[in-house]
């Protein structure tokens, strides 16, 4: 079977070093200061020589690796292998395929076989590959900050642990969500070896309340699996489920499925978002209810009460009668009631009482078991704030003898008035097992660095019964060791991770599956597919019961007094809790809503900004009302669609790790700094997180805002936000730009309404001045982007950046409007307040048939291919920038400086199929021409016809909403050709007759279902 062949292949390759996929180990001597280490291409090849030696002295992980797709006989240089693995950038555990070239991963793609992520990956996942080549990553175990060897460190640690065991001291293992069966098993065994040992886990952006609420109402501490794909009405209280909440990729796919107008039986799901700031999810909502954090509670309770009436039940919690509120929720309640068993209520609130209310609503609506499942439940978050609070108390009492930390960075993520530093100082034995130097590591006695996940074996169980495997794609770059090996080593078990993993699977997981009879077959298939389905442990749930006390007093957040604002801390797409804030790609990724890069800011509603007399870029001081307490200085960003009494600040910024960005970007006379005065990117807003009644609270803190008079210009990639031109400059009829077009659901499906046909002016309707000398007889590449599907999640932007070796330019260059992203996402606003509408419009090169850029280039550096591609010839370009000026879409990017990729180690991520552009040349989206060529050549080699869908552009491949379709429009059967017939099909700036190859599908506006009373 395929696996076998490859295995031999791998071994053969190991012998002739250079081909061996795993030779990217650090060359001798480079193992000093971790920041010193850099493996350049030369070093890479040098190390190749050591291939055998390395293979001899260490476990060669790839021995048992199985490439995905087509198992090759040999590793052919220049030919990519795909290894199925699992993304651990966040606990959602999406499946991925690591594209490796000559033994190094160069790109991550979603794994289509994965039941949750379904072939998609988010921005974070796409960017996480850069962490592998991060030269700042620790490469040696350390004791008291000194590099040492595993032998020494193990000896010492085992001795100290032995002492602890005998002394009966308490050992605590502090982790993030750790949904890895094998690891959990080892952890259990490890902890069992101590008299008093427990694992405490928390999530920096806590979802604990959901689990706690279910513990109360359903008797088990579980996180339901939300099935947005089954919902017909979604009510979300501040849950950014398309952006940052639990499992965005999975949710986005489901959400799109529930709202797709393009299937035989069109599904129109109505989405109501209650939120205080404009979130990514809110930007897609059919209806936004803008409410301050402290208003959410009452709203939910009122709604619950109203639904209880409809259901003819009596609401257990007590309700303060509030007519106004009742009026507001009444239609909502009816809408939900009509859609009972097909509706879904979710909440991002960290308040268990609030979550209980949501559970009550879902229970009342009979959604359990349908739109949200408790069995098989999700395991994507397990954090327990209560346990965390407990740990803090223990630490305070000095009861903890040893603290092991993995996967979290409390010092940075939850400073809690700096309590951690002081408490951790006192812990006799502190061991950090993280894979990077977190701020907590600084306090640890021992630092036992973990592998990067692309170097390690492992498994994840994001949803009960859904197993997702991790397999290494490269020889570890440093002398790191996975957590699972460390723990078992300290138990005197020196087996490698691979053995431990396999062992657990054989003993614990294999019995729970049906398909395969032999374990090896099961294993090989799981490894090949990257995922395996097994029987989830059956759980029993007590009948849901609700008691008044569970609902708390309806609202925990206090309403801000006059002149005060209530602070909302939110995780930002790409940055989240800041674990990946050291990733330059993510730092330069424009926020999907604010379009700001490199640092956080204080979002204020336009009215609020006016009230305190500030405009974008003004520095304001954010201070707790009660004098003392944390203070932040942040630039203002005026954010439409936000509540007037709310100031929103992103988490995850201002970490020590961001100091590395000092000096990023071109250096010249007028160059500006990327980092702030404190040498960091952004400001850490975590000090405002409170641990309140054993729960982490992120929002509702009342704060005072005081302008400082200083300014710090934001680096935004989009300076003008509206789809309408400034009112003062608009002539009648010219107010709105037709770039984004909308169609209502009725127009789309009402047979009486005339449907304007797709593919207008594709042929004919617009007369050409020229004779058409260029008929496209063969293939003709085209793309269709569904504006209704696109959520703006920006995964495509990073995917494009990785695929096409797009440089990072730094804050100052972005501020100068010189970002290099080939694919930008235009975000437009129209409407006001609650009726604010948002459109996300991905804008790659449009590959116009009559490309204006080509005509003006004096040296023929940009020309048209026979397959309709607008090609840019880098080495011919002299850089007049005329093409960029003449591009109506402004999608061309210019290399203003030598945006060199200086970092030799980082350069290992470069895609060898794509030229790295030099200074002074123009560049732009190429429709991933390298992928087109690869597929064409492959098809030719195999002597088969190139089938539709075999070529996927990087942006299309990763899109969770599958909003992007690419293909040959001359092939009538291709999806892109079919979509060209869609009633939603249109082209941007069609009237210019440049005939773009990229088309868009109109936004669909879904009026309130009850208005046309179907139910």
């Amino acid at each position: 079977m395929a696996g076998e062949r490859t295995r031999q292949a791998q071994q053969r390759n190991r012998r002739n070093g250079s081909r061996f996929p795993g030779t990217a180990s650090p060359p001798a001597g480079s193992s000093g200061e971790h920041e010193e280490l850099a493996v350049g291409r030369r070093g890479f090849l040098k190390a190749a020589g050591f291939g055998l030696m390395l293979a001899g002295c260490r476990q060669a992980p790839l021995e048992k690796a199985i490439p995905f797709l087509i198992p090759p006989e040999e590793i052919v240089p220049g030919r990519s292998l795909y290894y199925a693995s699992t993304c651990t950038a966040c606990p959602a555990a999406c499946g991925l395929l690591a594209k490796t070239r000559d033994g190094r991963p160069i790109k991550l793609e979603g794994n289509p076989a994965h039941p949750l992520s379904r072939g998609a990956l988010c921005a974070l996942g796409q960017a996480s590959i850069l962490g592998l080549y991060d030269k700042w990553r620790p490469r040696n175990p350390r004791h008291q900050g000194q590099d040492t060897s595993w032998e020494q460190i193990d000896a010492q640690i085992m001795e100290r642990l032995e002492g602890l065991r005998r002394g009966g001291g308490a050992l605590r293992l502090l982790t993030g969500t750790l949904n890895s069966p094998a690891l959990e098993a080892v952890v259990k065994r490890f902890l069992a070896g101590f008299p008093d040992a427990r694992r405490i886990s928390y999530d920096p952006v806590s979802r604990s309340a959901i689990l706690d609420a279910h513990l109360q109402t359903h008797g088990k501490r579980v996180l339901p699996r939300y099935r947005f794909d089954r919902a017909e009405v979604i009510l979300s209280f501040d849950a950014d489920f398309l952006g940052t909440w639990i499992s965005p990729v999975e949710h986005t796919a489901g959400y799109r499925e529930a709202r797709s107008p393009d299937v035989e039986t069109p599904r129109r799901c109505y989405h109501v978002q209650v939120e205080s700031r404009l979130s990514l999810t809110g930007s897609k909502a059919d209806r936004r209810i803008v409410a301050a954090p402290h208003e959410h509670g009452p709203l939910a309770v009122q709604l619950a009460a109203a639904l209880a009436d409809l259901a003819g039940e009596s609401f257990p919690g007590e309700v303060q009668r509030n007519e106004g509120l009742a009026q507001r929720v009444e239609p909502l309640a009816r809408m939900l009631w009509r859609a009972r068993r097909r509706s879904l209520v979710v909440s991002g609130s960290p308040d268990p009482a609030f979550q209980t209310a949501c559970n009550y609503l879902n229970e009342l609506l009979g959604n359990y078991g349908r739109t949200l499942e408790l069995g098989p439940a999700s395991r994507q978050r397990e954090g327990d704030d209560g346990a965390l609070a407990g740990l803090l108390e223990e630490l305070g009492r000095g009861e903890v003898g040893a603290l092991l930390v993995w996967g979290v960075d409390p010092v940075f993520e939850l400073p809690l008035e700096g309590r951690w530093e002081t408490l951790l100082e006192q812990v006799p034995l502190m061991i950090s097992l993280d894979d990077r130097l977190t701020e907590t590591c600084g306090l640890a006695d021992y630092f036992c660095p973990d592998h990067h996940y692309l170097e390690s074996w492992g498994d994840r169980e994001p949803v009960e019964g859904v197993l997702s495997l991790l397999q290494p794609c490269i020889e570890p770059l440093g002398r790191t060791r996975p957590l699972i090996e460390s723990l078992s080593a300290w138990m005197g078990d020196s087996r490698p991770a691979y053995e431990l993993l396999r062992e657990h699977w054989r003993s614990a997981l294999f019995p729970r599956q049906r398909q395969e009879t032999s374990f090896d077959a099961f294993w090989d298939r799981a490894l090949h597919d990257g995922v395996a389905q097994i029987e989830p442990e059956s759980r029993s749930f007590s009948e849901a019961r609700f008691e008044p006390r569970m609902f708390g007093d309806g609202s925990r957040e206090v309403s801000p007094a006059e002149g005060e604002f209530s602070l909302v801390l939110y995780p930002k797409v790409g940055i989240l809790d800041g674990r990946h804030a050291d990733n330059p790609w993510l730092q330069e990724l424009p926020d999907p809503i604010s379009k700001a890069t490199w640092g956080n800011y204080a979002c204020l509603a336009p009215l609020a900004a006016e009230a305190i007399g500030v405009r974008e870029g003004d520095l304001i001081r954010l201070g707790a009302v009660a004098g003392q307490g944390p203070e932040l200085e942040l630039p203002v960003l005026v954010q439409p669609g936000q509540h007037e009494r709310v100031v929103a600040v992103a988490l995850g910024y201002g970490g020590k790790a961001t100091r590395r960005f000092a000096g990023i970007g071109p250096r010249w006379l007028e160059a500006g700094e990327t980092v702030g005065n404190d040498g960091r990117v952004g400001v850490n807003s975590a000090p405002f997180i409170r641990l309140q009644a054993r729960h982490l609270v992120y929002s509702g803190v009342p704060v005072r805002l005081s302008p400082t008079g200083e300014r710090r210009q934001l680096a935004r990639t989009q300076l003008y936000d509206a789809i309408t031109v400034p009112a003062s400059l608009a002539l009648p009829g010219g107010e709105r730009r037709p770039a984004v077009k909308e169609v209502t659901w009725e127009e789309l499906f009402d047979p009486h309404l005339p449907v304007e046909p797709g593919t207008h002016s594709e042929h004919g309707s617009s007369q050409d001045l020229w004779p058409d000398d260029h008929p496209y007889t063969g293939r003709r590449w085209a793309m269709t982007i569904d504006l209704d599907a696109c959520t703006g999640c920006s995964a495509c932007v990073i995917a494009c950046q990785v695929e096409n070796n797009i440089p990072v330019v730094g804050r100052d260059e972005v501020r100068r409007q010189r970002e290099m992203h080939w694919l930008r996402i235009d975000r437009y606003y129209w409407g006001q307040g609650e009726n604010l509408r948002v459109a996300h419009q991905p804008m790659p090169c449009q590959h116009c048939q009559n490309a204006p850029c080509e005509t003006v280039c004096p040296v023929l550096a940009t020309v048209h291919s026979a397959e309709g591609l607008n090609q840019q010839v880098y080495n011919r370009c002299v850089g007049t920038r005329y093409c960029a000026n003449n591009c109506p879409y402004k999608v061309r990017r210019f290399n203003w400086f030598d945006y060199a990729h200086e970092d030799e180690l980082e350069n290992l991520v470069l895609n060898p199929d794509v030229t790295v552009r030099s200074r002074g040349v123009m560049e732009k989206c190429s429709f991933c021409v390298q992928r087109i060529q690869e597929a064409k050549i492959e098809a030719k080699r195999r002597g088969v016809e190139l089938r539709d869908g075999e070529i996927q552009s990087a942006c299309q491949q990763t899109c969770p909403a599958s909003a992007i379709v690419f293909g040959n429009i001359n092939d009538a059967g291709s999806r892109v050709a079919q979509l060209a017939q869609s009633a939603r099909h249109y082209r941007v700036l069609e009237e210019l007759n440049v005939k773009p190859a990229v088309a868009y599908l109109k936004l669909v506006s879904r009026p309130d279902p009850q208005e046309e009373g179907h139910g």
């Binding site: 071109p666 010249w668 006379l669 007028e670 989009q718 300076l719 003008y720 509206a722 031109v725 400034p726 003062s728 400059l729 608009a730 002539l731 009829g733 010219g734 730009r737 770039a739 260059e813 100068r816 409007q817 010189r818 970002e819 235009d826 437009y828 804008m843 204006p852 005509t855 003006v856 280039c857 004096p858 040296v859 023929l860 011919r876 370009c877 002299v878 850089g879 007049t880 920038r881 005329y882 960029a884 000026n885 003449n886 109506p888 879409y889 402004k890 061309r892 990017r893 210019f894 290399n895 203003w896 400086f897 030598d898 200074r919 002074g920 040349v921 941007v988 700036l989 210019l992 440049v994």
Partner: protein, 482 residues
């Protein structure tokens, strides 16, 4: 010449000069040692030039990013300066060629320096398309030369290629035109210089001119032909420059109005530059008799006329946009006047339309300092016109998401200053080493407005001659180069 219309004019050349005086006066400047004033001006110009050289050097070594441009505004100062300088150049050709064809004798006093100005301006202009490139060292790829890349030729559909050829031709023709006009004067100077290196050099450059009437006749023909060629050329050049914009599809650029608009603008700015230079030159070089108030007056009139055309174009632009019903067009123009760059627009209107109206008043036209001030103001305004056209059109085009702004860096400002440095350095050198006024041409028009001079008295001692021996005659012969 003997037509009464002309004769009724006041004398073109004041102070009843004779040919001999003319040569003396004009060459005087060249014989004198440079004055302190000249030196200070020259050093100032030179240092500005060096500043520019430094700026350009830095920009080329570090990257074009040292300019304030961005993804949306790909051109700003660079092409603004380019168009500005090309425009300046045009007045020279207009004066030397067009006025020549129109038989305007007053041109003779100014055409030499105007042509010199053209050449220097075109040099300044020619620099910018090169240094504005991302990779200037590859500028020669604009030339369609056989190469090993296929051969890969150039894109003759690109206005930039048209530009390249236009500027090349314009420079060459202007230079030749200027030099041909210079030859007789060089001969004149040659014959007034004592034997020596200078004289050798002059006789080399004067191509052995001997004032033969046969040559004069051909010379006149050539001059006419060149004038005839230069006239459409000058129009074509700025037309092509305007096509850089007109053939694009950016609202505010994409308009058929641009060519005439640009040509008028060019002459407008050029004339005002000539005025600026002449007014200073005549004072410093004491040439008031040759460049009289009448000349200034006439140039003011041309300036006013072209200024009105430009003003008209400003109005028509708005009308076209409004009438087109095209929202992008309409927006661009409203945005010009009221958008973020409103100030540049109103500077342009103020300097190019409002202030030049003062030229309606004879008193202003005859008040030299006033003319000087206005001419400088016009130069500023015309620079801003190009800035407005380029930047305000680019910074807010079709898709609002791509809208952007622009602010120059110091490097850009230094580069602009440097171009002025180059221009004035060249011009000051010209004043030192070349007769600033076309001697032979001025001699040709001395009689204009001087019909009623009293005739010369019949020469005395006109005795019947005695045959001179050939040998003696041979002695009388002069060898130009010995």
């Amino acid at each position: 010449m003997a037509n009464p219309a002309v004769s009724l004019r006041e004398p073109l050349i004041a102070g009843r000069k004779t040919s001999a005086q003319v040569s003396r006066d004009i060459c005087a400047v060249l014989d004198r040692r440079p004055t302190a004033l000249w030196w200070s001006a020259f050093l100032l110009a030179l240092s500005t030039l060096l500043l520019g050289v430094a700026a350009v050097g830095y920009q080329i070594s570090v990257g074009i990013g040292t300019w304030g441009l961005n993804r949306t505004v790909g051109w700003a100062f660079d092409i603004t300066n380019f168009v500005f300088w090309v425009g300046i150049g045009h007045a020279g050709t207009l004066i030397s060629a067009v006025l020549f064809l129109l038989r305007q004798p007053w041109r003779t006093s100014v055409n030499r320096s105007a042509e010199a100005m053209t050449i220097f301006a075109v040099i300044c202009a020619g620099l910018f398309p090169v240094i504005h490139m991302g990779r200037p060292w590859l500028a020669f790829w604009m030339i369609p030369y056989p190469n090993w890349r296929g051969p890969l030729w150039i894109n003759f559909r690109s206005p930039l290629v048209w530009d390249f050829f236009a500027i090349l031709t314009y420079f060459t023709i202007s230079l030749v035109f200027w030099y041909v006009g210079l030859v007789p004067d060089l001969a004149t100077i040659r014959d007034r210089t004592a034997p020596g290196l200078r004289r050798r050099l002059l006789s080399f450059l004067s191509l052995g001119w001997d004032g033969s009437q046969r040559t004069w006749q051909r010379y006149e023909t050539v001059y006419k032909l060149l004038a005839g060629l230069a006239t459409p050329l000058v129009i074509s050049v700025h037309t092509i420059v305007s096509w850089d914009f007109a053939t694009s599809l950016i609202p505010g650029w994409h308009t058929t109005l641009l060519p005439p608009y640009f040509v008028a603008g060019a002459i407008f700015s050029g004339m005002s530059m000539v005025l600026t230079l002449m007014i200073v030159a005549r004072k410093v070089m004491r040439l008031e008799d040759y460049i009289t108030r009448q000349h200034i007056d006439k140039m003011c009139k041309v300036t006013l006329a072209t200024g009105l055309m430009v003003g008209f174009a400003y109005v028509i632009e708005f009308f076209t946009a409004l009438y087109s019903g095209n929202q992008y067009e309409q927006f661009v123009f409203v945005n010009r006047a009221l958008g973020p760059f409103w100030w540049s627009y109103w500077i342009m209107v103020g300097c190019n339309v409002a202030i030049p109206q003062l030229f309606w008043l004879r008193r202003v036209r005859r008040t030299v300092w006033a003319v000087l001030v206005i001419s400088i103001v016009i130069n500023v305004g015309m620079w801003f016109e190009r800035f407005v056209i380029i930047v305000t059109s680019l910074h807010r085009d079709f898709l609002p998401a791509a809208w952007s702004s622009y602010a120059p860096t110091w490097i850009e400002i230094a580069t602009l200053a440097g171009s002025f440095g180059l221009f004035f350095t060249c011009f000051l050198l010209f004043c030192r080493f070349v007769p600033v006024i076309a001697i032979s041409e001025v001699k040709g028009v001395l009689s204009v407005g001087r019909q009623f001079d009293e005739p010369l008295p019949p020469p005395a001692g006109a005795r019947p001659l005695r045959a001179v021996p050939a040998a003696a005659g041979a002695v009388a012969q002069t060898e130009a180069t010995q």
